[in-house]
Symmetry: C2
Subunit: 249 residues, 2 copies
DNA sequence: TCAGTTATCGACGACCAGTCGATAACCAGA
DNA sequence: TCTGGTTATCGACTGGTCGTCGATAACTGA
């Protein structure tokens, strides 16, 4: 317990220069925008044109405007890469402020997770591209770590919320849904189990329609939709475990 | 998708003045420090001396130093209120940057949850005090909301992690432990159930000791400790439900 | 009509938590 | 030392939920 001055006001006043040289600190927002494309989870990356790390892929984002809220700012920045209306979900991940996380002046970053539903195919500018999350190029700064945080958040929330609604088209079959879950979770998802879990939690309901069979035949699939298009947390937890390894003997 | 410039570099350069008047933005850290004292959850508050909101209770914290990491900063700021060594756990909650969240210039705040184990009784300065979380005075700025976020985080993490270790003394009886959980969760906690859940998750182990009975008699209680003094996430979830209301009929 | 394919359903079993009654181990006072 | 009161611990029952799998349904194309 250090006996220092006890009244450091957190309101306007001279900047605290006790713990480093006084210099302007910038605040930026970064977005991990994920979408399942062709059964593979992708992240939207942007190719840096300027130094430092020119040519490297990085997360979309930019400096917080002086009169902007954080969420407002990331929406604006993402609007340059993806149509905002395509974003089915957006939530804050965390903030990072290590003094040397970017070269030059210190930049505090607040990161967001954004989701784009699978049926959307937003036009992205030329310097921007979807990358499979399991085969990322070398990313700028600490952005690889941020992508990891986004994937991890998505994975856990798929288990105990209805976040699936943000991944899929408005209507879908159970097989399709399972493929979306597989892409995000990284392991097999049993269709029977998924159907029962989501139904028991009242997250999905049948539309009444059935799909025509494909050319390879098979029973036509019933069409479902999510009941609520916004995030809800489940009371009864369950982790959507990966399939158990059969215990030999 | 707005056809704007696509290369807004998130690195050094002139500040973005497109979305508000250019003015320096400050970054602060705030801590929700919780402790169970006499079976009641308390939060550490600090009485503001200066305007705005002079006289109101507020969360400890302050301006981020130019060369400080966020976590480093909140530890430093809390050292003025509570001995850092008493903090058994510290994790980031979220960041808030609404332009008018504090009067005057815009301040982005990154908030942290801190826990102090129940046996500690750190010396706190005169303008600082423990307040029962269920009977808080009017707080400054958005600090009441931040306290809510901290309580909520603690509640959910008690269910699916071993965070209990950060609440209790190094050793404890099951009855004591249940009282700590009760204080944080806000509902009854069955001792038998708690014991079985934590044991099956390998979070606790008996020390072998037993406590002498009090003057009112009773069987001596076995003494336990947490196995691991750092945060671990449980695989098998379970929410430590409040007791079910007996369904009449 | 039949084989192949895909979807759906029902049932079984394991696991785990919520509950409760039985038992253990102590105290104090008669 | 007996007895009732008190607290802690344990075992057992139960219900719910999931992981699994085999049976059945509903289609296709040959």
């Amino acid at each position: 317990m250090s006996p220092v001055s006890l009244s450091r006001p957190p309101e306007p006043g001279p900047p605290d220069v006790t713990h480093g040289t006084a210099q302007p600190s910038r605040h930026e927002v970064l977005g991990v925008v994920l979408q399942v494309r062709d059964d593979v989870l992708h992240v939207l990356l942007w190719r840096r044109a300027l130094a430092p790390h020119a040519g490297r892929w990085s997360l979309p984002g930019g400096t917080l405007g002086p009169a902007e809220d954080l969420r407002e700012s990331i929406r604006r920045q993402l609007a340059e890469k993806v149509d905002v209306r395509e974003l089915s979900h957006l939530e804050q991940l965390d903030s990072r402020g290590a003094p040397r996380r970017v070269p030059g002046e210190r930049v505090v970053a607040t990161t967001y997770l954004g989701l784009v539903p699978g049926h959307a195919d937003p036009h992205v500018p030329a310097d921007t591209r979807w990358h499979p999350v399991d085969a990322l190029p070398r990313l700028a700064f600490d952005h690889a770590d941020v992508v990891g945080a986004g994937r991890s958040r998505l994975r856990s929330k798929l288990s105990y919320t209805n976040l699936g609604f943000a991944l899929v088209p408005p209507t879908f079959t159970m097989s399709e849904l399972a493929r979306y879950y597989r892409a995000c979770l990284g392991h097999e998802v049993d269709v029977t189990n998924l159907q029962r879990i989501l139904a028991r939690r009242d997250q999905i309901e049948p539309t009444g329609d059935v799909l025509r069979s494909g050319r390879s035949g098979g029973r036509p699939a019933a069409v479902y939709r999510f009941r609520h298009p916004s995030l809800e947390v489940t009371d009864a937890f369950a982790v959507l475990h990966p399939p158990r390894i059969a215990t030999p003997g």
